[in-house]
């Protein structure tokens, strides 16, 4: 058993080396495929980062009437935080709201003077609510409108929830984000499928050149396993070499693109992302290379084993 495994591996290595040109062509095509897979990983990362950035810019503000008690507001904030769809709640007290207002109108003497005329701080407290997904704002808004937010019977302390003003904008953004995600994934999937089938075909052609040898091996009494083994080893070797090549090529490429992507995609530096996620990249690219080489070889040889 061990002897035949050793012989199969040795034959695979020797064939890889002796069919140098065929191996080179297969490795290059496979490198392109793995490059596409790597590209798709980066694409989904940038897409994800941009969408996260967009999503984080959306929030819903709950304005309270000026007479609302802080305890009640904090209680409401507490119950909002228990909702599974809520990512975070920020409390802005009446005093803070006034400060923010003053800051915003620094240059506007008239408004500031008008504010001075008032006996009391006219501004109510505000809760800024961020949901995990933009589509969840509606549920949060409905929760605020319902009695359950504040125990039934008590008069509402909520002055206004601006979700209803922003509803159209939020809905549109949700739609755009969903469409972008779907299109991005579909496009990526298409690219991956196309490049995998090209790699598959290349390996098939490489083995096509050996079809007569496969027949000869059958006639001198070789078992199917023994014939297939070395081809699969060569296929795995194509995968390993092209994965290493791809990973090596991605290094200077992301380095070159790193700064410009950082400026463009809201702080995602491809180079740093690549280094931080190198383990995952290594596993995915080397794994797909090896699997692709082995599976393609397996099926390609099978065609010629019918002697």
């Amino acid at each position: 058993m061990w002897t035949s495994i050793k012989r199969v591996i040795k034959a695979g290595l020797v064939n890889f080396y002796r069919d140098g040109f065929v191996s080179l062509a297969s490795v290059l095509i496979m490198t392109v495929t793995l490059f596409v897979i790597g590209g798709v990983l980066f694409l989904s990362a940038t897409l994800q980062a941009s969408l996260e950035d967009l999503k984080s810019k959306v929030d819903v503000n709950v304005y309270f009437i000026a007479s609302a008690k802080e305890v009640d507001i904090l209680a409401l904030a507490g119950s909002l935080r228990t909702l599974p769809e809520v990512r975070g709640v920020e409390y802005i007290s009446r005093a803070e709201a006034l400060q923010n207002f003053k800051k915003r109108h620094e240059r506007d003497e008239l408004t500031l003077q008008a504010l001075q005329e008032l006996p009391d701080n006219p501004l109510g407290a505000v809760l800024n609510v961020r949901a995990k997904e933009p589509s969840q704002y509606e549920g949060i808004a409905n929760f605020l409108k319902s009695d359950s937010a504040l125990g039934s019977g008590t008069p509402s302390i909520i002055d206004e929830v601006n979700y209803y003003d922003n509803k159209a904008a939020i809905d549109k953004l949700t739609g755009i984000i969903r469409a972008a995600e779907r299109m991005g994934m579909a496009f990526a999937l298409l690219l991956v499928v196309v490049s995998i089938s090209i790699a598959f075909n290349t390996i098939r052609l490489a083995i096509y050149t050996s079809r007569e040898e496969i027949g000869v091996m059958r006639l001198v009494g070789a078992s199917n396993k023994y014939i297939r083994g070395p081809f699969i080893i060569s296929g795995i070797l194509y995968g390993v070499v092209s994965a290493l090549l791809t990973l090596a090529l991605l290094y200077p490429l992301t380095y070159y693109l790193g700064d410009s992507t950082e400026a463009f995609f809201s702080g995602l530096n491809l180079f740093r992302y690549y280094l931080a996620h190198f383990g995952e990249f290594f596993l995915i690219i080397a794994g797909s290379g090896i699997a692709l080489g082995a599976i393609a070889s397996f099926f390609a040889v099978r065609r010629y084993l019918n002697v």
């Binding site: 002897t3 012989r7 007569e212 059958r218 070789a222 078992s223």
Partner: protein, 226 residues
């Protein structure tokens, strides 16, 4: 050892390559099969190697019906046969040594045996000095001798030689026939197909003559008559 029982083989174009052949080959026999191209000689050998299946009839090797063997068991059966072809059928990216070692590896022989036996059979076919050459570096006669070495290295019960001298000059032809005779005297059954009158006449062994898929003559010590 081999027996054909009313075997017919009809290819898809409805022309019969073999037409109701019955033939028995005894162990340790040296049998030559002659006939024009298309007479069915090669089809006969392909049936023995289980490369083709008969349309009707049975082919037996000892007591096993060859074409009832499972595809996954065929390779074990084929190890009992050494095959030699007109076009040599060596593995192009393996050296002479590796081509022969390959057949031994298939049979599961240990490495020590391989490194001892391969040089021995290569010496036997007079190719000791070309052990590390690739097939494309060898002449036709040399390639055929490598093929013979590969066929005999596992000491098969039967050697099938399908026009082994078809691509060779007279001197190489003579050498190859001498090697086949030697293998036969060591106790192996040999089935030879050929067009070469000189080869047949010098052998003075059993000759089966085929024409249009039928056996038209079977002489125990025959001559080449067509």
């Amino acid at each position: 050892m081999i027996s054909f029982n009313k075997v017919s083989k009809i290819y898809s174009d409805h022309s019969a390559a073999l037409d109701g052949i019955s033939l028995t080959i005894q162990p340790r026999e040296f049998i030559s099969i002659v006939g024009h191209s298309g007479a069915g000689k090669t089809t006969l050998l392909k049936l023995i190697l289980a490369e083709e299946r008969p349309t009707s009839g049975n082919v037996f090797f000892d007591s096993t019906d060859i074409h009832k063997l499972k595809r996954s068991k065929l390779h074990q059966y084929r190890r009992k046969i050494g095959a030699i072809f007109q076009d040599f059928r060596l593995l192009p990216n393996k050296t002479a040594f590796e081509n022969i070692a390959f057949a031994m590896e298939m049979a599961g022989r240990p490495d020590e045996e391989i490194s001892a036996d391969v040089p021995y059979v290569l010496q036997m076919v007079d190719l000791g000095d070309k052990m590390w050459n690739f097939p494309h570096e060898l002449s036709g006669g040399e390639k055929q001798r490598v093929a013979i070495a590969r066929a005999i290295v596992n000491q098969p019960d039967l050697i099938i030689a399908d026009e082994p001298t078809g691509n060779l000059d007279p001197i190489n032809t003579y050498d190859i026939v001498q090697i086949l005779k030697k293998i036969h005297t060591l106790g192996t059954t040999v089935i030879l197909t050929t067009h070469n009158k000189g080869v047949i006449d010098s052998l003075k062994k059993r000759v089966v003559t085929m024409e249009k898929g039928r056996i038209i003559r079977d002489d125990p010590t025959g001559k080449y008559v067509l």
